[in-house]
């Protein structure tokens, strides 16, 4: 339990640092740290598959992609234009309302008593695979359309045209 609180504290600190640092490169690095704490959370929840996937895909592949884009576009300066005060106030109010709603509902939940899942092995790869290929077979297959569509689109947008000048 102490470990959980420690990791949660780290998660919150790192994610706050992501949005408060001015330099995008530092933001990305803190984001990596945030994802790493997520991985620890998954391990604590006995969700090994998610932990591994989160570690490889998010921390590895996606973050490298982020860094590459930042370097290629040379965004490592503090170029982000400042938003107007009005927008900042609106954003704070909206975000604050969401936070209050969430905290309120979770706090009430505490009083009702949390329903615990009494199957600790639910997050293991074997069980996940069984669910994915029995109950959730259709969503699993249909998501192939999603990937294919994204792939065709990415090629379409990135491919050079004969008529293009560039």
């Amino acid at each position: 339990m102490i470990l959980f609180y420690l990791v949660s504290l780290l998660t919150i600190t790192f994610s706050l640092l992501v949005i408060f640092t001015k330099n995008p490169i530092y933001s990305v690095l803190y984001l990596i740290a945030t994802f790493f704490t997520f991985t620890i959370h998954y391990v604590l929840l006995n969700a090994q598959f998610l932990a591994v996937v989160n570690f490889i895909v998010y921390m590895g592949a996606i973050m490298v992609l982020f860094l590459f884009v930042l370097m290629l576009m040379n965004l490592n300066k503090e170029t982000e234009p400042m938003k107007s005060t009005l927008i900042k106030i609106i954003a704070v109010i909206a975000g604050g309302s969401l936070l209050v709603t969430l905290i309120g509902s979770f706090k009430q939940l505490d009083a009702l008593g949390i329903s615990t899942i009494n199957k600790p092995e639910i997050g293991l790869v074997e069980n996940l695979g069984k669910v994915l290929f029995s109950d959730f077979l259709l969503p699993f297959e249909v998501s192939s359309i999603l990937l294919l569509s994204a792939m065709v689109g990415a090629v379409l947008l990135a491919k050079k045209d004969k008529t293009d000048n560039g």
Partner: protein, 460 residues
């Protein structure tokens, strides 16, 4: 299910046709395939009301009716694509493929019976649309539209997903039937507070997708920046699908909690109507006016979600049909005018009726239908919407809606006035046969539904 398979396979076939340089056969093959899909969908009418694939999808009459509308809308829009995509680039087959993929996502959205399917359907549709919005790669507005749509869409998906998670956390299932049972069993106070938060977040996510105020701010820029044909697709077929998904979730699962979310929807509806209509008044671009008018029509369609029940489903069905066919006419004429004049302002329509009586006449019917004038489908749609709201004693909302309908008449008539009573350059529009066909079919359908509304109003 057959419909979904046919459309997905069709998309792949079209992609391969592009590979073999069979450019001429793209449109016929797509249209034939869609007609086949439509036939298969209609064949399942009243046949198979049990959820399939472990409760993932349910092809009830609701799903079939909305599938039919969206497929028909797509066919009409594809017919307008003759020589349209060729001008953008040579990858025409890919454009058709992505439109068909978007339609496959829409099929999932109208027939889901599990929140995971809802999410995947919404994503297939949205990802395809982000790409379609940006296909004019050399055009700044198109790029801006794609990026804005992508960022806003991804953001709203976050809300939707978080909402689904919280609902799962309290009901322990993604299945609509189980969630419904959970709500019914715990109706007197036992529902977890997490469930309400989840409901609100899903509501926000879906309102983003249908472009209701105050989550509408992406709509005008995206609709204006995207290629006109894609805008037509987004504001008709996609919007219909969004409402179908919205309605299905709220009627099936959340109806017993109406006291909780109806006030929110009422505020959203009123805001959407006012913002959409009043801003549309001040537009000088016809395309932008249509974008704002599509926001205001989202407001009218939200009435159905307040109304709930079978009458509301019928109302949304009629309204969506009327709005889809009328908008397709408007966008078709806009494409023609833009091709000749190069701009999409009202001025382009000046004096159009003199040399192009047929085009002007169909556009007039479309505008009358959008404005909700009797004898057109649009009037019937509004009538059903308002009566479903009156049945729920939402008198004030109806009063607001009628004020807005009157505001709407003003800007829709501006086009008619420009066409008939203003002096213009007397340009003659080159109207290809497909355009004539689409315009005629849509205009006739608008009038037929206006005169004999019972054809579709008693379907479900």
């Amino acid at each position: 299910m057959n419909t979904l398979i046919v459309i997905s396979v069709l998309a792949l076939v079209v992609l391969y046709l592009g590979l073999f340089k069979a450019g001429k056969s793209l449109l016929p093959v797509s249209v034939m395939g869609l007609l086949l899909a439509l036939g298969l969908a209609v064949a399942e009418w009243n046949v198979n009301p049990a959820p399939i694939y472990k409760g993932m999808m349910l092809f009830d009459n609701f799903a079939i009716a909305f599938s039919a509308i969206t497929i028909l809308g797509t066919i009409l829009i594809l017919l307008l694509s003759k020589n349209y995509f060729e001008k953008i680039s040579e990858h025409v087959a890919e454009y058709y493929t992505i439109i068909l993929f978007a339609l496959a996502g829409i099929m999932v959205m109208v027939s889901y019976h599990n929140l995971s399917m809802l999410f995947i359907g919404v994503e297939i549709m949205s990802v395809s649309l982000y790409i379609l919005a940006g296909i004019k790669r050399r055009d700044f507005a198109s790029n801006e539209a794609a990026l804005k749509y992508f960022l806003m869409g991804a953001f709203s998906t976050g809300f939707l997903l978080f909402g689904i998670t919280l609902i799962y956390g309290s009901a322990h299932s993604f299945d609509l039937e189980v969630i419904k049972q959970y709500v019914l069993n715990n109706a007197n106070g036992g529902i977890s507070p997490m469930f309400y938060t989840g409901l609100s977040l899903i509501l926000i996510g879906l309102c983003f997708k249908i472009g209701a105020a105050p989550f509408h701010f992406w709509t005008p820029d995206v609709y204006e920046g995207s290629p006109t044909l894609i805008t037509a697709f987004m504001s008709t077929v996609v919007k219909t699908a969004g409402f179908a998904a919205f309605l299905r979730l709220f009627i099936t699962c959340f109806a017993p909690l109406a006291d909780f979310w109806v006030p929110t929807i009422i505020v959203i509806t009123a805001l959407t109507l006012f913002i959409g209509n009043i801003t549309a008044l001040y537009q000088s671009s016809f395309k932008r006016m249509l974008a704002y008018s599509s926001i205001s029509h989202a407001g009218y369609m939200l009435f159905a979600i307040i109304g709930l029940g079978n009458a509301a489903i019928n109302a949304v069905l009629v309204y969506a049909t009327a709005y889809t066919i009328a908008s397709i006419i408007a966008f078709a004429v806009l494409i023609l005018v833009k091709k000749q004049t190069g701009s999409d302002n009202y001025e382009g329509f000046n004096g159009l009726a003199k040399k192009n009586p047929f085009v002007a006449f169909t556009l007039t019917i479309a505008m009358l239908s959008l404005a909700g004038i009797p004898l057109t489908a649009g009037f019937i749609g509004k009538f059903f919407m308002f009566s479903s709201a009156v049945a729920q004693y939402q008198i004030w909302l109806v009063v607001i809606a009628i004020i807005n309908a009157i505001i709407g008449i003003f800007y829709y008539f501006r086009v008619i006035v420009a066409m008939y009573f203003k002096e213009g350059k007397n340009l003659i529009l080159a109207t290809p046969i497909q355009f004539r066909f689409v315009l005629a079919v849509s205009a006739i359908l608008t009038l037929v539904f206006g005169l004999y509304p019972t054809i579709i109003s008693e379907l479900i």
